[in-house]
Every structure is written in C-alpha cells, then in structure tokens.
Amino acid sequence: MQAAPATSPGDEIPRKPARKKLSKLERTRILQDWAFILPQLTIFVVLTIVPFFVAIPILFTDMSQFNDPQINPVGFRNFTAIFTDPSVQRDYFPALRRTLVFVALNYATVYIFGLSLALMMYEVGFRGGFFTVVYLPLMISGLATGYMAVMLFSRETGTANLLLMELGVIKKGFDIYSPEGTAFILPLLVGWRYAGFNMAIFLSGLMAIPEETIEAAIVDGASYWQRLTRVYFPQMWPSFILATTMCLIGSFAVFDELVAMGALYVNPEAKLLSILFFTYGFQVERLALGMTLAVETFLPLVFIGVALQRLQRRLQY
C-alpha cells in the first residue's frame, strides 16, 4: 500500500507531461478565462448549436406543426421527398431555380456596385461624404427595401416606372409582380442596399496593399488594367472570399425583401427557398418536411462557407 502511491505518479509523468506542467496559477487562469467565455457561449450554443441536434430526430418523423399531438416515425421519407413526392417537387424546384437566379444576379451586384465603387474611391482618395451616402441604404430594413421596390416598380403606380416613361427611356412600365420583374428588380435593390457594405470590404482590402508594389507598377508603365489584374486583385483575395461568403449565405437566406414583395400571399414569383421553408414550418403544417428540405439545401452551403473561411484565413496570414 505504501509503495503504490510512490510509483503511480512516477508512471504518470511520462504519459501526461503536459497536464503535470500546469501550475496552480495557470489552472486558475484557465478557469477564470472560462468564466468570462461561458455566459455568451452558453447562449450561443443553446440558440445556434443545440437546434441542430433538436432537429435531427424530427427529420425522421411526420411532425406537422410545433404542437403536433401525434408524431409518427417515417424513416427517410422526408429526405427522399424531393425525388419522389410530386407535390414537393412542384414547390421546391421552381423555388430553387428562382433562388439560384437571385444568387447569381445578386453576386454580380457585389462587383458591379461594391467593387467598382471601391476602386473609384481608392483612385481619388477616401471621401467620407460619398461613403456616408453609399452606406445609407444599409440603415434601412430588408422589409423597407422590398416595399421600395414595390413603390418604384409597380406596373401602374411605380415612381421609377412613371419617371422613366416621362423621360421616354421606356415605353411600358416594369412589373414587379411578373417573373422577369421579380428576378431583376430584387437583386438590383438588394445590391443597392449592400453596396456600401461591399465597398467597405473591398476598400479595406485595397488599403491593405503595400504602396510600394503599386508605385513600382506605375513607374514600370503598367496600364490601369494591368495594375488591376496583376497588382490589386492578387493581393485582394481575402476580400473577394469574404464578400463571396457573405453574399452566398446572405442571398440564400433572403427573406424580408420577399415578404415585402408579397411572397407569403399574393406574389408566387417571389417564392424563394427561404419562403418555402417558412411556409412549410408555420403555415401549411409540413414542419418536418420543411426542416428536412432546409437541411438538405443549406448544409452543403455551411460546408462551403467553412471551406471559404479557412481559405480566407490561410491567405491572410
């Protein structure tokens, strides 16, 4: 009995050297660190991570609403529904098509508005006043953006329509409730709203470029286009990736603007995927199915997002 305690710590030292090295001071420090981390982390985990695990068992049932009295297991039926169930296919695939069109067009506005404004601002020096104006739309809500779209581009009453017709630019007004109208006007307004945000991302990327490389290029007689593609862009990769991540995640989750454009009731052309999941969960009693579709659609996105984040960090350091 007396020998045992003498030998066992001796055995442990080579096995767990790291643990042994922690002094009492360090251990208190770690505990204190955790006391600072825990309050927010608890809320974060309960509201962001736990929901994933809560959702998993529901995905395999026919739960129809949040207080469904009778829940039956259905195996993988929810997962295969997009391939087998015509009623789901009728809802899902048009919504997917509209979402993809929106994401593509919205991604274009990141460059059309954000990047070109940032490049301009960089050439003439930072202009606080112009920045203030461009960033102003970010103060308004997605809902307001959607109603502004309706106000500007309603077929009969849209202010922009009436103005453009008065100026003779167009003969017939755009119609926000038509398929093409919704597809093009929505990204235009969303791009308008986020222009300042994207400009800030690209501008900070541009400002991080060492001045010497640009001066060297100018002295060597590089044209603006050459400077752009050989000097600016290669050094701005972290900004491009950040803007891509934000735009990708943001445009798949676009919701408020669509509600304002009548997606929940009158305008089926504005029914994108997020509206579909919302309706399944809260309106038509297909909760489990809606959750499954959301997971099937968004989980790949989360992985892409994580990959992009890693890439960005590797390029930054």
Binding site: D33, F36, P51, F52, L143, M151, A253, V302
Partner: protein, 372 residues
C-alpha cells in the same frame, strides 16, 4: 471601364510627367461625375418614398416628384368609400361634426347628404376634411391602433430591444474576447471556431428548431400561456437573447483587439492587486473604444431592422416596428399611402442617428471591415 481604356492609350504621349498629372485630373473629373450620379441613384428611393407617403392612392398613377397639393374632398364622396380606401374613422368624424355616435350613417351616403341630413354647413365638413388626402397616410399611421398596439408602442419596444441588446452584446462580447485573447490554448481556439460558424449558418436553417428550443424554454415559466406582462416580457427576452448570442464578427473584433494589448499591462494591474474584472473595467474598456464603436455601428442596423425573429416570436399586440409595419400592410392593403408612411417612419430614427454620428459609422465600419 471607359476611363481605363482611355488611360491605357495615354502613356504613349511624349511628356510623361505632364500626362500623369493630366491623367489624374481626368480621372478625378470622371470619378466625381460617377459619384454624383451614384449618389442621386442612392438617394432617389428615399426621396420618392417621402413624396409617396403624401400621395393618396387615387393619385398614385401620376408621376409626383414633390409633395402634391391634393384636391379637396368632393362633397359627392361616399362615406363608405372613404372608410374603406382611406381608413376614415367614422367615430372621429361624428365627434368632430357633432353627430351623435348612436346615429348610423349608411355606406352609400355622400358627404352632401350627411350635410343635409344632420343640418351641418358644408364649410364645416370641408374644414374637417382639409388636407385629408395629403396627410391621410401619416394621420392613419400615427393615431391608429392595430391589433392592440399603436405605432408609438411598437417604436418604443424596438428601441428598448435595440438598446438592451446592444448593451449586453457589447459586455458579453468583451468578456468573450478577453477569455479568448491571444488564442494560445486549444480550448480557446475551439471556442473561437464555434463562433466563426455563425457567419456561415443562415438564419433560415436554424429558425424552425430554434423556435422550438425557445418555446420550450419559455414554456417552463408559469403564465407564459396567459396573455399579459410575463408573456410579452419573455417574448422580448427571446429576441434579446438571439441578439446577444454573439456573432463571428463580435468575437473576431474583440479577440484580436484585446490580443493586441500588451500582456504587461494586465500583469502590472494584477500585481497591483486589481481583480480581472477591475482590469477590464478600468484598463481595458478605455482602450477598446474603436472596436466597441465598430461593433455597435455594424450591429445596430441589424438589430433595429430585425424582422424575421420578431415576426415569428412576438404576439401582434407586442410587436416591434417592422412586424407592426407588415401587419399594417395586411390591414390597409388597399391604402398604399399608409404603408409608405409606415415604411418611411420606420427608417427615420436610425437614418437620423446615422447622419448625426456618420463619422463614427464610417470609421467603425472601415475598422470592422479590416477584421473581416
């Protein structure tokens, strides 16, 4: 693009120094022009919205570029139409004109008939309806009640949620950043990576299960099912919890800002007998002005303009500004003037704050954008 091809040709001229100066001048003119055009493009929707909030629905098929002088109400207008399309409050009208509330006015009755029937001079009716079409939207919005709450109540709740959320988010994020500062240990790195996930998880993906989790938590409290103070307080608390849970941005900002502060500062404070909380309060806080401003100016619009969560979690009688606006749309679906007034009203508070503190916004956003 036009300028880049133009500039590409210029270096071939003979005096390089002069051309560089001229190029810069040309570029400045071009860029200034584009900036002015883009500013107009940015500001026009705001101006148009303001004008439209004064344009009555019946005039909306004409182009209005400034606030119009609307017609007087015609004496042939029928009371029912005014009530349906312009949300005329019949109780108010009866009171103002001295008609007893018990009198029933048929929907097809015209204003002239009202004047004859109750022996009221037409002038008095015209006085009551002065500016009726022009200010109809704002009048209806600011004086009306909707599903048990007024515009002012909704605005108050929005401001309450925004202020509390921002305060707690800042404090909790500073704690997190302090606990993670330096990212020296494996556990710190793990926590940091968990927060980074927030950036790539769309709100829509976790909305449904998150709703279930929060319903379950709030259901633990007695009285949650009863309409009243407890229920509404809990609902607002749910929104606040969602807002303060911390984001990738908040964690990144404070972790790197606190990590950049020399460790000696902390050591000397602790040796002098300060606790770590005192160190945060008296040493760290004054040094963190820039990141705090950065966090607030980026998060404030997001929290103030939150729609999805309040729309889902709050009772209509307890709603914040944007769900209130949305239910106004359902209620006044034929009266677009009210809807535009409501939208413009919801923009004003934050826009004014932004214009007053624009310097902080610009600096904070640029500092935040550098962090990614």
């Amino acid at each position: 693009m036009a300028s880049s091809s133009l500039l590409a040709k210029l270096p071939n001229t003979k005096e390089p120094m002069l051309t560089i100066a001229r190029r810069k001048q040309l570029l400045k003119v071009f860029v200034t022009a584009v900036m002015i055009i883009y500013s107009v493009f940015t500001l026009f929707p705001f101006y148009a919205l303001l004008v439209r909030s004064f344009v009555s629905t019946k005039d909306s098929t004409e182009l209005h570029l400034w606030i119009p002088k609307a017609d007087e109400v015609s004496m042939d207008a029928e009371v029912g139409n005014l009530a349906v399309f312009y949300d005329l409050d019949l109780r108010d009208m009866k009171e103002a004109l001295g008609i007893p509330q018990s009198e029933f006015i048929m929907a097809r009755t015209s204003l002239r008939e009202v004047s004859e029937q109750f022996d009221i001079p037409e002038e008095k009716i015209k006085d009551f309806f002065a500016g009726f079409y022009t200010y109809n939207g704002w009048n209806t919005l600011l004086t009306g009640d909707l599903y048990g709450t007024s515009f002012w109540g909704a605005l108050g709740r929005t401001l309450l949620v925004t202020v509390i959320s921002l305060a707690f988010l800042t404090v909790l994020s500073i704690f997190t950043g302090y606990g993670l500062a330096g990212l020296r240990r494996r556990d710190q790195m793990a926590v940091y990576n968990i927060y980074l996930l927030q950036m790539v998880i769309p709100a829509m993906l976790i909305l449904l299960p998150q709703y279930q989790v929060l319903q379950w938590i709030m259901g633990l409290f007695p009285n949650y099912d009863v309409k009243g103070f407890t229920r509404w307080g809990l609902q607002l608390l749910a929104i606040i919890l969602i807002n303060v849970k911390g984001t990738a941005l908040s964690t990144m900002i404070f972790t790197s800002a606190i990590g950049a502060i020399p460790k000696d500062l902390e050591d000397s404070a602790l040796i002098d007998g300060a606790t770590r909380l005192q160190y945060i309060r008296h040493v760290l806080l004054p040094l963190l002005k820039v990141p705090i401003i950065s966090l607030i100016v980026i998060q404030m619009p997001l929290i103030y303009n939150q729609f999805l969560e309040p729309y889902v979690y709050l009772d209509p009688a307890n709603s914040t500004l944007l769900p209130f606006t949305q239910s106004a749309v359902g209620q006044f679906s034929t009266n677009y003037q009210v809807i535009y007034s409501a939208i413009f009203a919801s923009i004003i508070p934050l826009a004014v704050l932004y214009l007053i503190f624009r310097r902080f916004f610009v600096e904070g956003v640029m500092a935040g954008a550098v962090k990614g």
